[in-house]
């Protein structure tokens, strides 16, 4: 058996999504901007896809949902165009975001800092959550944008988007949320919260990679990132990726129809897995389950280094993820793990397991068994669990090397 538990990284494309894409490669391949029937033949399917996305998010017809290549593009678009429209060509000079954002927000903010923008990176509490009152306390009359992720990719923790939205509305500050880890996992109703811009990506909810969108409340102004042939009403140029747009529509519909039932089913499996793993001694899971995306577990296992654990899981045909510094290209500890700061060792021992609606009970059973075996083997090797202590004078110091 092989088990894929890295669904916060990407998901399997639902076979029924692949099916709806098929006609738009070699049968209905015209450019939707063309006047002839080859072009217009794609219009009904595109309209349907747009309806599916608007319905899934309960967006108003006055809002724009613009298809992009991915959430990285959507995030960059918001940040760079807000910079252009409100900082370079406006009176503002400040952006508020968090220490735990995805690199497509975090690095874009770092780049804007080089351009002279003041950026505040808000801390999270020990649960990994940004508190609304903290956001409020940093807003000034120079603040152009608040950008806070809807849910965390690493911990699954859900931020108080409704409260932050109300604060931003009251203060008259634009609010963006990277909702990549929320859409398709938890209900997102864009008429019940006040968010100006929302980024999303299809491959996180069983759609294909290379298609995403940006929601723009009330079609408000935001200068384009990509200039060109005036596609999507001039907001985002580039020939429409018809098969992928059709696929995203189908994928979001599948993910959000009867979402409460789907959540209950995934949550039950997740909770069972989490409970079983927490039977192991010296473990902890980050964040309250009730305020977490229903598919995510970030567990710390004392004495077991993350990459070593990933290795053993991989040997058992299980795909998971770790924020361990050892597993990264540059050996830098994961900034999100450090920001949570719940435990100094989390940065080295955290294992993230993320389920999907395709995860089965058998896979959970198999994972529990292999996970426990791997922990037993690695703890048997681990110096953290050794019995014979060092010769006097042979002890080593605790580490102090956690920089940002």
């Amino acid at each position: 058996m092989q088990v894929y538990l890295d669904n916060n990284a990407t998901t399997m494309v639902d076979p029924s999504v692949v099916e709806v894409m098929q006609p738009f490669f070699s049968e209905i391949y015209g450019n939707p901007n063309s006047l002839h029937k080859f072009g217009t033949a794609s219009h009904p399917a595109l309209k349907k896809a747009m309806d599916q996305v608007y319905t899934a998010l309960n967006a108003s017809d006055d809002d724009d949902i613009i298809f992009t290549s991915c959430a990285t593009e959507s995030n960059n678009w918001v940040l760079k165009s807000i910079f252009n429209d409100h900082i370079v060509n406006g009176e503002k000079n400040h952006i508020i975001t968090t220490e735990v954002e995805h690199p497509s927000v975090y690095s874009a903010c770092k780049a804007l800092e080089d351009e002279g923008v003041k950026v505040t990176y808000l801390p999270v509490n020990s649960e990994g959550v940004v508190e609304a009152h903290v956001v409020k306390s940093f807003i000034t009359d120079k603040t152009a944008l608040v950008s806070v992720m809807w849910a965390s990719n690493e911990t699954g923790m859900i931020n108080p988007i409704k409260e932050i939205g109300e604060i931003c509305k009251e203060k008259g500050v634009l609010f963006h949320s990277d909702a990549v880890q929320a859409i398709g996992k938890i209900p997102v109703d864009l008429q019940s919260v006040h968010v100006d811009f929302v980024s999303m990506s299809a491959h996180k909810f069983h759609g294909p990679k290379g298609i995403g969108a940006l929601y723009i409340r009330n079609s408000q102004p935001l200068s384009p990132l990509l200039h060109g042939g005036e596609h999507m009403g001039g907001r985002r140029s580039g020939t429409l990726n018809v098969p992928y747009i059709v696929a995203m529509g189908k994928a979001i519909e599948l993910a959000t129809t009867n979402i409460e039932e789907k959540i209950a089913s995934i949550r039950a499996k997740r909770d069972r897995l989490e409970d079983a793993l927490l039977e192991l001694s010296d473990t902890f899971v980050v964040g309250n389950r009730e305020n977490r995306t229903p598919n995510t577990i970030l567990i710390s296992i004392r004495g077991v280094e993350g990459e070593g654990m990933l290795w053993d899981l991989n040997n058992g045909q299980i795909g998971a993820s770790t924020g361990s510094a050892c597993a990264s290209e540059d050996l830098q500890a994961n900034t999100v793990m450090l920001a949570i700061g719940a435990d100094n060792e989390l940065a080295h021992t955290g294992i993230r397991l993320s389920l999907s609606r395709f995860t089965t009970d058998e896979e959970i059973d198999y994972t529990i068994e292999h996970f426990k075996k791997a922990v037993a083997r690695l703890r048997a090797i681990s110096s953290s669990f050794a019995k014979v202590g060092p010769t006097p004078g042979g002890e080593s110091k605790e580490c102090e090397l956690h920089f940002h």
């Binding site: 993350g306 290795w311 050892c326 060792e345 681990s382 110096s383 014979v388 605790e398």
Partner: protein, 324 residues
């Protein structure tokens, strides 16, 4: 960056088969108890290096025959990734059968080499080289405990990059000899900073005493100071071509004041030095005539010739005077 870098390296694919095998089944994982060592009439040494909070930790056990100082048995415990476990395992293997003094000579490079499948191919990707350094450090610590000395006493030189074992002295020499100006050049010449990157600048994987950025800056500063001092000496000795630009301008001005300006002023004119541009064949001195000299027919012929020949004679044959 080029085609082969576009996809990013797959960390695990770069591990040697030996690393993979030892990670899955380490041979010397385990502990040696005080009783066990005593039963053989041997001495037990247990040394720790690193900590779980650092991301890697190793505990090394040695059973040493006190009569011969030979390490007769060795085990390890490790909190770490696959390469840390494999490095620890091969480290114990390299220790067994050696005397403590011989074991001290084992470096991280020996450990990495022993993990290779063939001599040409590195056993681990560059950023994992750091794991083998732990082995080197913990051996030193164990040996120090056994011999009752300080672990630092084994260090003959200051190692800046532990992964590639490059010393401070080597780095300073290479920067000077090759006139290096960037960290990338230092890595190309010495491999320092090419592995875990901790030694490049503060804020990396591990806190270091010396960083390449500081060594480069300080060495460059020393080089500049020496150059300046040499130029100052050259100035006082009148060696015009070795002078700095400022010195050259001053020397030219001094010559003009001494032997040219008075004649120009007598005719109601004057001149000023605008710029000096040293080239391979000529040192071009750009001047501007002032007052009556400006537009005087002789300023492009006789006067110019007089100025140039004076500067040539007093300062350098390479001087060419160009009025603008």
């Amino acid at each position: 960056m080029a085609k082969n870098d576009l996809l990013g390296a797959s960390l695990w694919d770069a591990y040697s088969n030996k690393v993979t095998t030892l990670m899955n089944n380490p041979n010397h994982q385990g502990e040696i108890s005080e009783e066990e060592a005593a039963a053989h009439g041997n001495r037990l040494i247990v040394a720790d290096f690193g900590a779980e909070s650092c991301g890697d930790a190793v505990r090394l056990y040695w059973e040493v025959d006190p009569k011969t100082d030979v390490i007769v048995n060795s085990k390890f415990k490790s909190f770490g990734c696959g390469t840390a476990i494999a490095s620890s395992d091969i480290m114990t293997e390299l220790c067994i059968g050696k005397t403590v003094k011989e074991a001290v000579k084992i470096t991280n490079i020996d450990v990495e080499f022993a993990l290779r499948d063939n001599p040409e191919t590195p056993a681990v990707p560059p950023q994992k080289m750091h794991c083998s350094v732990m082995a080197y450090d913990v051996i030193k610590k164990a040996a120090a405990l056994y011999m009752g000395v300080d672990a630092d006493s084994f260090e003959e030189e200051i190692i800046v990059c532990e992964c590639a074992r490059v010393s401070l002295k080597t780095l300073q020499e290479v920067i000077r000899l090759n006139d290096l100006t960037t960290i990338e050049q230092i890595t190309d010449y010495t491999k320092a900073g090419g592995f875990c990157k901790s030694c490049i600048k503060p804020g990396g994987h591990e806190k270091r005493e010396y960083y390449l950025v500081d060594i480069l800056r300080d060495t460059r500063r020393e080089m500049d100071e020496e150059k300046m001092k040499a130029a100052a000496d050259a100035g006082s000795k009148g060696n015009f071509e070795s002078m700095t630009l400022v010195q050259q301008i001053k020397a030219i001005d001094a010559q003009i004041d001494e032997s040219i300006r008075q004649f120009l002023i007598m005719d109601g004119g004057d001149m000023e030095v605008i710029d000096v541009k040293p080239g391979d064949d000529y040192i071009d001195v750009y001047i501007r005539y002032l007052g009556a000299c400006n537009g005087c027919a002789s300023s492009a012929t006789g006067t110019l010739y007089a100025i140039e020949s004076t500067l040539k004679e007093k300062l350098s044959k390479k001087i060419r005077v160009l009025p603008i």
